[in-house]
């Protein structure tokens, strides 16, 4: 993903904008007018599950990912709220935020099509259905339309705004994670993500004063965070960098053992984070990850002790009785360090905060900082379907972050099945049923509705601001 900020110009496809679609073509102040290509008008015959009367529902028959995505984009992608989000305006007319936003499509063959931008939602929707991308990323909002960038000097094409984003990926936890490796994820290690969400969310709200924060499941083994406050969108790279380094505690690469070096007195923000860490540390590190249960795992902690004498003593003791409860072992570690300091006060500096730093190292969020610090970095959009897992990248309400199960977001076959079930039980003559969007008939509904609540918060603030401005 680190290559994503490179301009893939050679591979990028040029499209001509159809004539007769000048800007401001949409005059009516009616949001629905923007959606002439409504879901209901789409040809449902394309749906292989809809041929014949008997809906086919098992995953084995769900077709390949191409077909799944095609169905998803046509029936389930929540275009209307999505547009409302990117438009950042209470008026339904496409604003600069939407018009000048870079969209980057990633096709099935891994071709990137960077710097795409759209004049209307309809144009965006048509391209999405035509290209049937494996996923798409959102880039920055530029000073001009990204598609028009060749009309100006390269230096005059400037990113001016974007949500402040965070990307947390489970692979960064592989060195401390014992339940799964690589692409796998389970409820045990998902707790790392829960901790990350809690810590970052409260820091963004309390410290930086941001309110409109959207957490999104990345579709496989991580989470994304989109901070949509106007103030956050306007941050420049230096300011983004400052926020990231304000949060960052775990530093150093694979060759670096102890990755946390904090001062004796914790900054108020870290004191608060430390409380969250204390809530989760024992369950996550001792119970779920069993770090103190196996020699090869507990070595991850022991080798970091900056005093060889203490290290050897604890190792000996743990090897002598390896089956003691983890909490007893941890207590012994704390005692040994305490004794050592009592006997040699010179070692206080090195040892005193070792247990605290270890707790940080094994629970504190690990950020992919490049994604956050560069305003024009791309990040996969919410409501994409992860091409490997087939799951929809749904928003995660922060108040429910403890209960989120990464295997719960719906897959496309599941959505199709739910849609078919709904249509089978609700005759088409039913007026209410006709008015509904397809996603409203499925389990995607609650996720989109949560997203709409997030949008409501944004538009309330925009309305208040407009009224004040008058």
């Amino acid at each position: 993903m680190s290559d994503m900020d490179i301009d893939h110009d050679p591979r990028e496809r040029q499209r001509t904008v159809e004539a007769g679609q000048p800007e401001g073509q949409v005059e009516k102040d009616d949001l629905d007018h923007l959606f002439d290509l409504d879901d209901s008008e789409l040809d449902k015959v394309d749906n292989p599950w809809m041929t014949g009367t008997k809906p086919i529902s098992s995953n084995a028959d769900a077709g390949d990912i191409h077909q799944q995505l095609m169905l998803y984009y046509r029936h389930f992608f929540p275009f209307k709220p999505f547009f409302q989000w990117l438009n950042y305006d209470i008026a339904p007319k496409p604003s600069k935020s939407f018009l000048n936003r870079e969209i980057c499509w990633t096709l099935m063959d891994d071709t990137f099509i960077r710097f795409q931008s759209y004049r209307t939602l309809e144009e965006f929707k048509n391209d999405m259905i035509r290209l049937n991308p494996a996923k798409f990323d959102l880039g920055a909002i530029y000073n001009i339309r990204p598609k028009d960038r060749h009309m100006v000097r390269p230096t005059a094409f400037i990113p001016v705004a974007k949500e402040m984003v965070f990307d947390i990926d489970m692979t960064d936890y592989d060195e401390i994670r014992t339940c799964c490796k690589g692409a796998d994820v389970c409820n045990k290690c998902w707790e790392f993500m829960t901790v990350a969400m809690k810590i970052i969310d409260v820091a963004m709200r309390d410290d930086f004063g941001f309110k409109h924060i959207l957490w999104v499941y990345s579709g496989r083994r991580g989470i994304h965070c989109w901070i949509a406050d106007e103030r956050a969108r306007k941050l420049n790279n230096d300011q983004r960098k400052a926020i990231v380094s304000y949060l960052e505690v775990i530093k150093g690469g694979a060759q670096q053992g102890k990755k946390v070096k904090l001062p004796n007195t914790l900054h108020p923000s870290l004191s608060r984070s430390f409380e969250t860490i204390q809530e989760h540390f024992r369950n996550l590190v001792f119970e779920s990850q069993e770090i103190l249960s196996e020699p090869e795992n507990w070595e991850k902690i022991l080798t970091l002790i900056p005093d060889e004498g203490v290290q050897a003593r604890i190792r000996q003791s743990w090897e002598d009785s390896p089956n003691r409860a983890p909490s007893l072992k941890w207590a012994e570690l704390l005692d040994s360090i305490g004794d050592e300091i009592a006997q040699h006060s010179a070692k206080r500096q090195a040892l005193e905060h070792f247990p605290r730093d270890i707790m940080f190292q094994f629970t504190y969020p690990r950020l992919d900082d490049k994604v956050s610090t560069n305003i024009n970095h791309l990040l996969k959009s919410p409501f994409c379907v992860h091409p490997k897992t087939g799951r929809v990248c749904v928003p995660i309400p922060i108040e429910d972050c403890e209960d989120f199960d990464p295997s719960s977001p719906p897959t496309v076959p599941q959505l199709v099945q739910e849609l078919n079930q709904y249509d089978a039980t609700h005759p088409t003559s039913d007026d209410d049923s006709n008015k509904l969007q397809d996603w409203q008939k499925t389990s995607l509904r609650k996720h989109v509705e949560y997203f709409e609540r997030f949008l409501k918060g944004l538009s309330r603030e925009m309305r208040e601001k407009k009224q004040k401005g008058r």
Binding site: D206, D207, F208, G209, I243, S245, H267
Partner: protein, 537 residues
């Protein structure tokens, strides 16, 4: 040339009021440059002031980029300041008041001239902003506390002070937010948007709550600088927009345009510092080439061929060295020894002539600068052009450096600079290390523009390598002066550039006798005009 005062410059810099040195005008040597200077100035002064300030700004930026110790940095910067734009503090007793004001007036005026010169494009504006902020910060930090406070008092900065009540409420938070925090009750705190103090936020050395940062008085340099930057940035935008309206001035514009070219570095046309070079001289001159060109040369000799990107980069470099078109045709034809003269004429001669502006749209191409080699046209598989510091993998670069007898310590230093993406600084360090060896002094003595011996200080030229031809010329002149030095100023070494190769002896003696060994029929005659553009094999 101009003795009379320039009417238009007066219009531009002031509203026509003739001013004498006002006591209140420059109470300290720090200046926020809010008001343009109200005085007349001659066109010579206009240009000289601007160029002098450029010297200071460039010396400061270069010194900062080179990772010097604070003492080395001070020495390098102060040298430039003393030479080009001295600024005495109020406390300096042996400076007359008049002289103080004179210095500060020059500072004031030169700032505004550069502001004009650098407001034209975004790129220029951002360079100037960076340079001026660096200078302001440097000066502010060097200023006595008394003068700092006096300066700040006059600025009417609208920072919101934190009330005692709030301070009491936040006491613990403020205390744990900065290890430097002393007695909270006695310390003055300001409340500002966190965006303005990114450095403090990034280092977690300030308390922030709901987007507001609580900054201690002693951290104020951050705020002052931010204020300075914000105002200057805004002023530059305004000036940039107003600039087209003064384009009719035919005296100032050339001066301004000349000034803002300075930082972009010299453009090398055929400079021929080594005299007119013959095709056969190239191998002996290789020792003076930068790594990128040496590499291209070696690969050309090894493969008997070079692809298009390499031919452009190396060919134009040779042109800049003083290789004439005729000699260039000889050089390339000899180098491509596996192909017949007919094939060469058919496929390559047009290309060579094209780069000399003798074909096609007849652009007289200039050699690529480091910037363009680093930024544009990255090498693909089979290509040897590009910048070794930018485009080589670390192991390959290490091997190259080892082959040039760069020791491990310096190699690490260079690799470190590469990792920080300071490719040109890395190249400059490479220059310093290898050239010091070439003239037989320790590389340690040439870091950061400081050296005891004359030759040493020549190596430690304060300029960063910005152009391969600059590297070549510096190296070439160095050898020349070294030879002059060792020969006790014998006539041969003392002759200037343009004298040809004859004066140069030393580790890489140039064989003057090879001149004109080749007879060559003018290639043009046999080239048909319909040869394809830009053939690449």
């Amino acid at each position: 040339m101009f003795t009379q005062h320039n009417r238009k410059s007066r219009q531009l810099l002031a509203s026509g009021i003739k001013s004498t040195y006002d006591d209140d005008l420059y109470p300290t040597r720090l200046n926020f440059y809010r008001e343009p200077p109200l005085l007349e100035i001659s066109i010579e002064e206009f240009e000289q002031f601007a160029l002098d300030r450029m010297q200071v700004l460039q010396a400061l930026l270069t010194a900062q980029m080179r990772n010097l110790t604070p003492e080395q940095l001070d020495k390098a910067v102060n040298e430039a300041i003393r030479k080009y734009m001295p600024m005495s503090p109020n406390s300096k007793s042996n400076t007359s008041h008049r002289q103080l004001m004179e210095e500060r007036r020059k500072d004031h005026i030169s700032h505004f001239i550069l502001r004009l010169a650098y407001s034209r494009s975004q790129e220029l504006r951002s360079w100037f902003l960076r340079a001026e902020c660096a200078l302001f910060r440097y000066r502010f930090e060097k200023e006595m506390l008394k003068d700092q406070l006096e300066f700040l008092e006059k600025q009417n900065l609208s920072w919101k002070k934190v009330s005692d009540e709030d301070k009491r409420l936040l006491r613990e938070k403020l205390k744990t937010s900065s290890f430097k925090a002393g007695n909270i009750d006695e310390e003055t705190y300001f409340e500002v948007d966190f965006e303005r103090v990114t450095g403090l936020v990034g280092r977690r050395q300030v308390y922030i709550q709901a987007g507001k940062a609580f900054v201690r008085l002693s951290d104020q340099v951050v705020l002052v600088l931010d204020e300075f930057k914000e105002r200057l940035s805004h002023a530059l935008e305004v000036t940039g927009r107003a600039l087209p309206r003064m384009d009719e001035d035919d005296r100032l514009m050339p001066v301004l345009n000349n000034i803002n070219k300075q930082y972009l570095g010299r453009e090398f046309t055929s400079s021929a510092i080594a005299g007119e070079i013959q095709a056969s001289d190239v191998d002996t001159l290789k020792v003076h080439m930068p790594l990128c060109m040496e590499h291209l040369h070696d690969e050309l000799r090894r493969e008997k061929h070079t692809r298009h990107g390499g031919r452009m980069q190396y060919g134009l470099f040779l042109k800049g060295m003083g290789l004439s078109l005729e000699q260039a045709l000889i050089f390339w034809q000899m180098a491509f020894e596996k192909i017949t003269p007919e094939q060469f004429n058919k496929n390559y001669a047009y290309n060579v002539r094209h780069t000399y502006g003798m074909e096609g749209k007849r652009t007289d191409y200039t050699p690529y600068s480091c910037k363009s080699i680093i930024m544009n046209n990255a090498p693909g598989p089979g290509d040897h052009h590009g910048c070794p510091f930018r485009h080589f993998s670390a192991p390959n670069l290490r091997a190259q450096l080892a082959a040039h007898n760069v020791d491990e310590f310096d190699t690490d230093d260079i690799i470190h600079k590469v990792q920080q993406r300071h490719y040109q600084i890395a190249c400059t360090r490479y220059y310093e290390v290898t050239r010091a060896k070439m003239v037989g002094i320790s590389p340690e003595n040439v870091k950061g523009g400081l050296s005891d011996s004359a030759t040493g200080s020549m190596i430690a030229s304060q300029e960063v390598i910005e152009h391969p031809n600059q590297f070549f010329e510096q190296s070439y002149l160095l050898m020349k002066s070294k030879n002059a030095e060792s020969e006790g100023g014998a006539a041969s070494g003392a002759t200037g550039a343009g004298e040809g190769m004859d004066g140069v002896t030393g580790p890489a003696p140039l064989d003057a006798t090879v001149k004109g060994r080749y007879t060559y029929k003018k290639a043009g005659a046999s080239i048909s005009s319909n040869v394809q553009h830009d053939i690449d094999m």
